[in-house]
Amino acid sequence: MLNKEQIQKIDAFFNENGVQYYDVRQELIDHVSEIMEQKMNSNPSLPFEVAFDETVARFSKKELVLLNEAAGSNYDPRKEWQYFTKQRILKFLLIYLAMALPLYYLPSRPALLTGALYFVLWMVFNGRMLLAFRKRHPAPCKKLNTFSHPSWFITLLPVLYQTYIIGKYMLKINTETQVHPVTLALLPFFMLFATSAQMAQQHLKEQDYLAAKNNYPFLF
C-alpha cells in the first residue's frame, strides 16, 4: 500500500496536469495507485519513482484536461426540479396571491410604494438566505466537482424588473402616472420565481455537500 507522501505525489501530478477537481483526482489516484502497487508487488526492487514515471506516462495533459472538463459539465439542472413538490408549489402560489392581490387592487401610487417595500424586503430575505447557506456550508479547502455549480444570476430578474418599474413609473410618481395592475403583479412573481429557484439550488447543493462531507471529511 502506497504511503501518504507517495499518494500526495500522484495527487500533485494530476493537479499540475489540469485535473482541478479534488474528487475527480481521488478516483484517478486510486487507479494509478492500484497499477503501481501491482508493479511494485511483482517486482519488489522497483523504486517508487520508476513505477510512478512508468505509470503516469500513459496520461497526456490534453486527455486529463478533457477528463476534468467532462466531469464539470455533468451537472444536470433538471435535478433541481425535485424540490418542487405539490405542497411547495401550493405554498408559493398562496404567497404569490397574498403579495399580488394588494398590488392589483390598490391605486397606482400606494401600489408602487407597496411594490418597492416588497422589493426591499425580498432583497433582505434573499441576502440573508444566501449568507445563512454559506455559513452553514463553508467551502471545502479544495475544489470539488460535486459542489461546484454556481447560479446566482436568476436573482437578477426581480432586480432588473424593479429597476424597470422605478425608471418607468416611480420617477414620475408625482405626475399622476397610471400603472397597469398586471405590471405590478408581475413583480412578486419574479421575486418568488427567483427565490424558489435559489431554494431549489440550495436544496440540491445541500445533498451534494453532505455527500462530499461524508466522502472527504478531512476537506471540511
Partner: protein
C-alpha cells in the same frame, strides 16, 4: 481501420453488462475485467472510461459508494433501478446492431 474506433460505441453496453454481472465495481477493476474477458484485445483507457462513468452517474444510471482505503478513497459504481432497465435496453439495441451488421457482412444465402 483502428479497432478501438469500432469498440468505442460499445463501451456503454459493455460497462452496464459488467456492472449487472458483478454488482459493484471501481474504475481500475472495470479496465482489468474487460482486458481479462477479451484476452487483452480490448483495453479501455482512463480517458474513455471515467467521463462515461461520470456521465452515467449524472444521468442516474449509476450510483456510487465510497470506501476509505486508509491513504486514499475508492469509488464503487453500481446500477440504479433505472440503470438496470437501461442495461436491458442497451442489450436489445446491441443485438439489433449485431444483426444489422450480419446482414451486410455475412448474408445468409437463400
Amino acid at each position: 481501420m483502428n479497432k478501438s474506433n469500432l469498440y468505442k460505441g460499445c463501451l456503454e453496453p459493455i460497462l452496464l453488462k459488467l456492472l449487472k454481472e458483478n454488482g459493484r465495481m471501481y474504475g481500475y477493476e472495470i479496465t482489468q475485467k474487460v482486458k481479462e474477458l477479451t484476452a487483452g484485445e480490448l483495453k479501455i483507457t482512463e480517458g474513455a472510461l471515467y467521463p462515461l462513468l461520470h456521465r452515467l452517474e449524472a444521468e442516474g444510471i449509476l450510483e456510487v459508494e465510497m470506501e476509505n482505503l486508509g491513504n486514499r478513497v475508492r469509488k464503487y459504481y453500481s446500477l440504479t433501478a433505472s440503470g438496470k432497465k437501461e442495461q436491458a435496453r442497451s442489450m436489445i439495441e446491441l443485438e439489433s446492431f449485431k444483426n444489422t451488421l450480419q446482414l451486410i457482412f455475412n448474408p445468409k444465402l437463400a
